[in-house]
């Protein structure tokens, strides 16, 4: 028999994009943990391992790093949207005591792409200054004055695509991504609409939303000779390492990136950026550690955003609700850079429909570049698609949930293949039950037909208040994939380390990896520690993005732990005088089956001295003949004040199918977090642009509103029990992004239900609600 190939090429999906990758096949296969596998740590509500650290304020965020003689940098940014720098005056800044150095475009390697003289958006870095402390650096930055020639900007899609529009940045022949709109079609939508009994059209707008992680983008850089260490608040330590090595032209081995703890990312912290290069360059010139934090205005203005969209939707259906055609024509305002993470994708995925066409115009404009923001594209697309579905249900006199149920997608329609698992129909049922969806509609029907019951939309004694309910569904690729590696080593005292090149954004990665390693090793959880967030100490893992971490990494961790356990058992076999296949391992002890004889891990490793018990694990490819998705449904009840236009969300019920849940408590926390961000997207969050000047107007947390505790409804977040053994041998899929997708559309559906009219633009601020009522 020939040996199977060690390296094969496979397809991986990241945030809706498909990539070809070479992967290393795992050295051995593992039997999947089925839904009813008897597991001790996996599936347990273990406490977050760094909970106590966080509750005492000591996790070690980048902005808390204090290296000896650390200096501080500040960034000078453009205050216009388009133009050319003619001169930068630095004399006044340089004269301030405590100012150490100034970086201008001529001082930086071209590959850092820092400080371009061509201004293409408000907030673009133009220079940086370094000083003994942050206060001096900030003062010096304010004294640096920039002279420029003003150009004509385009900050809206209309401006950027006008007949006489100038390129928003040099080198563009027009201002569109791919130079032209992107059309994706399956089937024949013209025929689909011709066959429809009813056709619905809607135009829906979603805002530009800002990630607004509380910890800013930040880096601390320190050189030791030609070796660079960078502490960075990042979702991808290895990617930051690669970016730095390339931009600074140093070997990868000379760059070490560390992220011990981070204060949130949500998609905005996937690469090295201006602050990273500025810290590294100053540190090299000054031969001392340098910190560069992005200040809050910079954070809100220049670290990425969810691009705004306009979606013109047409859906056709038969009288029984069967969809015959879906069409969406969209405009996406990308910013100065960006990619095709648009609203179109979900139109092809969520509902069964043979004829679907999306036509998206992705326009570059003179605002800061977009970045992936939790379920990029899907969160926006779901708002449009679900608004149209609700309108269709109303037109047909169907329960909106029933309409969705009738159009449940049974397979991956984009690639004509089955799903490894998709229990969306069950999510509808369980969610409807937990929410009391049917009761609400029964009472509602009774009140309408016979006036025998009060209309549940009316609040007794409060004629200005109206209540309503809505439902929305979700689908998102969450298979994760290779390459991901892990090492598990058992120390001489029997404690174990699991090493993986991941990072914990607040999701609980550290805890999850320890749980899976303890399970597969047969160890006590408190004896296993995850070492992550250090490219100098760990094997490679990819970015924490695309809801990929658990599905990508836990199979590698499990394999590494099994590998280490095998070695330990072999060693124990000699010590216990029993063959390996008669030994069993449980909670840190190797015992001879059916006897009292056994040794703890510590007793075994003590005997071995410095012989290393070490296991290696890698992530094999995903099945190529099946799609891997997390699906779910969320139900919302709202109360709308028709006098003031204020929307209050009363409750949310969320039910998702994400395969195996490694830690239900952490999963619920993340689900609640996604719902709350979705609530902000629905009701408050919107970057406001002055289109005449090309400036963002609300660049702080005062004017850019994110939810507070006072805005939080009761949330019932629930995951279906189970394990997706076709996806990977741990049975887990991702949850981070699925959580946000249905929230805003469910709330919008509930508002429409309460008012009898749609609010077609998010966020549903009081003035938009009142305007909709006045229509």
């Amino acid at each position: 028999m020939s040996k199977p190939a060690r390296f094969v090429t496979t397809t991986v999906e990241v945030e809706g994009r498909t990539e070809q990758r070479v992967v290393e096949m795992p050295a051995f296969d593992l039997e999947p943990w089925g839904a009813d596998a008897a597991l001790t740590h996996v599936g347990a509500r273990a406490l977050r391992v760094d909970a106590a650290l966080k509750a005492t304020g000591r996790p070690g965020y980048t902005t808390d790093i204090r290296r000896p003689h650390q200096a501080y940098a500040a960034i000078v940014r453009s205050r216009i949207a388009r133009g050319k720098v003619t001169r930068i005056n630095v004399e006044a800044a340089r004269a301030i005591p405590g100012v150490l150095d100034i970086l201008l475009v001529d001082d930086v390697p071209a590959r850092t792409r820092l400080f371009n003289a061509e201004i293409t958006y408000h907030g673009q870095p133009l220079a940086a200054v370094c000083a003994e402390n942050q206060a001096i650096a900030d003062r010096a930055a304010r004294l640096i004055t920039v002279e420029f020639e003003k150009g004509r900007h385009a900050v809206t899609v209309a401006q950027a695509t006008a007949a006489n529009a100038q390129p928003v940045r040099p080198g563009l022949s027009n201002n569109l991504l791919f130079k032209e709109p992107r059309t994706t079609e399956r089937g024949d939508v013209i025929a689909g609409f011709a066959a429809a009994d009813v056709t619905i059209t809607r135009e829906v707008r979603t805002p530009c939303a800002l990630h607004s992680a509380l910890e800013p983008h930040a880096a601390v850089a320190e050189w030791d000779g030609d070796r660079l260490t960078v502490w960075e608040s990042t979702q991808g330590i290895f990617r930051v390492r690669d970016n730095l090595a390339k931009a600074l032209d140093v070997p990868l081995t000379n760059v070490r990136v560390i992220c011990e703890a981070m204060g949130g990312g949500f998609g905005a912290k996937n690469y090295a950026a201006a602050h990273t290069y500025i810290a590294a360059l100053f540190a090299r010139r000054l031969e001392r550690p340098v910190a560069c934090y992005v200040d809050r205005a910079g954070e809100q203005v220049d670290t990425g955003n969810r691009p705004s969209s306009v979606q013109r939707i047409r859906i056709g259906a038969m009288k029984d609700g069967t969809l015959t055609a879906i069409e969406m024509v969209g405009e996406i305002q990308l910013g100065i850079g960006g990619w095709e993470g648009g609203p179109g994708e979900i139109y092809h995925e969520l509902y069964a429909c043979p004829n679907v066409r999306t036509h998206e115009t992705f326009a570059f404009v003179n605002t800061a570049a977009m970045a992936a923001f939790r379920a990029p594209g899907h969160a926006e697309g779901a708002v449009g698609l679900e608004a149209a579905m609700n309108a269709l249900a109303k037109e047909l006199g169907l329960d909106p949930l029933e309409l969705r149920r009738r159009n449940t997608a049974t397979h991956d329609q984009k690639k004509s293949r089955p799903y490894t698992g998709n229990r969306l129909a069950e999510c509808y049922d369980v969610g409807a039950e937990r929410f009391g969806w049917r009761d609400w509609h029964r009472i509602r029907r009774r009140s309408k037909d016979a006036h025998t019951a009060p209309d549940p939309r009316v609040v007794p004694g409060k004629p200005h208040l109206r209540r309503g309910v809505g439902v929305a569904a979700q689908i998102w690729s969450t298979g994760g994939g290779p390459p991901s590696y892990a090492t598990v080593r058992i120390n001489t005292d029997g404690s174990a380390d699991v090493l993986a090149g991941s990072q914990d954004l607040g999701t609980g990665t550290r805890t999850i990896l320890a749980q899976v390693a303890a399970e597969a090793l047969g160890h006590r959880l408190d004896q296993v520690r995850a070492i992550i967030g250090d490219t100098g100490a760990t094997p490679y893992a990819g970015n924490s993005w695309g809801s990929m971490t658990v599905a990508s990494l836990t199979p590698a961790v499990r394999m590494a732990a099994v590998d280490a356990r095998r070695a330990l058992v072999e060693a124990a076999s000699g010590l216990l005088g029993a063959p390996s296949d008669q030994l069993e391992v449980f909670e840190g002890r190797v015992a001879v089956r059916g006897s009292e004889r056994g040794m703890s891990f510590g007793e075994i490793t003590a005997k071995l001295g410095n012989v290393m018990i070490q296991g290696h694990g890698s992530r094999g490819p995903n099945p190529q003949d099946a799609g891997i998705v997390t699906t779910g449904a969320q139900f919302a009840e709202v109360e709308v004040d028709t006098a003031t236009g204020v929307v209050r969300v009363v409750r949310i019920v969320a039910v998702h199918d994400a395969g195996r849940i490694v830690n239900p408590t952490l999963a619920e926390s993340q689900l609640e977090g996604g719902i709350i961000q979705g609530l902000g997207f629905a009701l408050f969050e919107e970057r406001v642009l002055d289109t005449r000047m090309g400036l963002p107007l609300n660049v702080g947390l005062h004017d850019y509103k994110i939810p507070t505790m006072a805005d939080i409804p009761s949330i019932d977040g629930h995951f279906l029990d189970g394990a997706d053994t076709k996806a990977n041998h741990v049975g887990a899929r991702g949850i981070a992004e699925p959580a946000i997708v249905p929230t805003a559309p469910a709330i919008a559906g509930a508002v429409a239900d309460a008012l009898g009219v749609d609010v077609l633009e998010l966020p549903m601020t009081p003035w938009r609600v009142l305007a909709a009522l006045a229509r």
Binding site: L47, R48, D50, A51, A52, L53, K54, A55, T56, G57, R58, P59, Y61, T63, D64, R66, N133, Q134, A135, H211, S212, A213, L214, E215, P216, A261, M262, G263, G264, F266, D295, R296, L505, G506, T507, G508, T665, L666, S669, Q670, E672, G673, G674, I675, I676, Q677, G700, L701, H702, I706, P707, T708, M709, A710, I712, I715
Partner: protein, 155 residues
């Protein structure tokens, strides 16, 4: 000037424009207190000034002369955590944890004044503390739980 910081006298000589947050983080290297907005929008910098919660980014350092300041570093320790710290850990009330010190200090001020707050009172006391991870439901539960622990022990 002199302040009592986490129970100990500390001498400092801040500049006139320096805030209490500048003093804590930049001069005294007490990094538990977080700087997020630096202008009173988020609550991440919340500390106790004479037992009352304040935004340290909006409090001038020199104005604290002779006063009592308590930060997350003085709320409890790993060995002897404050009931709020225990409750936050048990209820998973910190995701990324960046807002957590501010949340804890705001809650500590509330519970010092009222060990049996209603949910409305908790929300009123805590809604000046933003959490982008959306940990609010767990924070609410943790504050309730800590209040119950405090009432039980009579601490």
């Amino acid at each position: 000037m002199q302040i009592t910081l986490n129970g100990r006298p500390v001498a400092a000589d801040p500049e006139g424009h320096a805030t209490l947050l500048d003093l804590l983080r930049d001069e005294l290297a007490l990094t538990g207190t977080k700087r997020v907005c630096d202008r009173g929008s988020c609550g991440a910098c919340t500390v106790l000034l004479d037992g009352v919660s304040v935004y340290s980014c909006l409090t001038l350092a020199q104005g604290c002369d002779g006063h009592d300041v308590r930060t997350i570093e003085g709320l409890g320790s790993a060995a002897e955590p404050h009931p709020l710290q225990q409750a936050f850990a048990l209820e998973d009330a910190a995701q990324c944890g960046f807002c957590t010190p501010g949340q804890l200090m705001a809650a500590a001020a509330l519970l010092a004044a009222n060990d049996d707050p209603s949910d409305d009172e908790i929300v009123a006391a805590m809604s000046g503390n933003l959490c982008r991870c959306g940990t609010y439901p767990k924070i609410l539960r943790a504050v309730r739980r800590a209040a119950a622990m405090l009432r039980e022990t009579g601490a």
